[in-house]
Symmetry: C2
Subunit: 211 residues, 2 copies
Amino acid sequence: MVCAGLARERGFRVAALTIDYNQRHRIELEAAKRIAQTIGAASHVILPLDLRLFGGSALTAAIDVPKDGLGEGIPVTYVPARNLVFLSLALAWAEAAGSSDLFIGVNALDYSGYPDCRPEFVSGFESLARVATKIGSEGGKVRVHAPLQHLKKSEIAREAARLGLDPGASWSCYDPLPGGLACGVCDSCRLRRAGFDEAGIEDGTQYGAPS
Amino acid sequence: MVCAGLARERGFRVAALTIDYNQRHRIELEAAKRIAQTIGAASHVILPLDLRLFGGSALTAAIDVPKDGLGEGIPVTYVPARNLVFLSLALAWAEAAGSSDLFIGVNALDYSGYPDCRPEFVSGFESLARVATKIGSEGGKVRVHAPLQHLKKSEIAREAARLGLDPGASWSCYDPLPGGLACGVCDSCRLRRAGFDEAGIEDGTQYGAPS
């Protein structure tokens, strides 16, 4: 949400892409629709791509989402090559539509250690995008913007407020409870709550467990 | 087909991935099923991914497939970032399944000038794959094999014969005619026919137009 808001603020016409990868937290697709509307996206595609056919992650297979706090190493909520798949699809759409600027909301500070959130992944993708495409191979620029990359979660929360965006419109939880509550104890909830606490900004999420 | 046959010959257990991208020549999905069986693939996933939602190509939009012979530049049959999307998905499956060797049948000699068939794309993807994934970031090797990359079409035809594979089981045409005939005059048919002619090997394809 904040990434899209920043793209809009920088003068871009936003075409929003959401992947319905049959994720455990498919409830985030509803948040994506709300956000695309709020942002005033020129278009919004929700692309079905059933990554459960591959599995291998707590978000796409029958593997429990950890609830005991952030640990060492790359957690089981890592979805194999997910952000590479997502950026590749964004690039495919961008090139088909005559655009060359991609925005992705990855963050490499308050994060779970996913390899595909790191700056070297983002810059490596940008280089490959120039080789992989018609626009790139004909000398056109492909840019991958990751404006949240070096921000703390608390700074992202402040950006949301500065941009006039409603934090409650966004969704972070990996393992939603019945009734549309966030679990409050998965890594994603913990990082989100800590960020809003530090920023002193109302989170807007309804949690099923106390912090 | 030949690429999968070579993977098998090199001792790999083949997991076959076919993307149903709502391509004009969806008839190739039937060929993929036959080939996966013939090759003795350990598994075969046909993954739906509707690239018509993006369009931008004669294979995924209402744009005519050229029939006048190979021209200059990148033709309208180029599908934006397609092989990047395909390899990313193959990598996602491979990592989820605990594998690290990808095979792709791209060819950079008798081809249509697609940027994502070139060696620099394949090697660039291999480098990025190591940054983008858990296996790669933990020091594991990800290898992208493109055994047809530097072969002429006639050599690929000979490899099919050498491996005991039936050329008629494969499909190349971009714009199939009613009744399951290949058009015979799109770039893909032209390259295929010329290759088999040069090799002096029976093609096995039923064409709707004389060569």
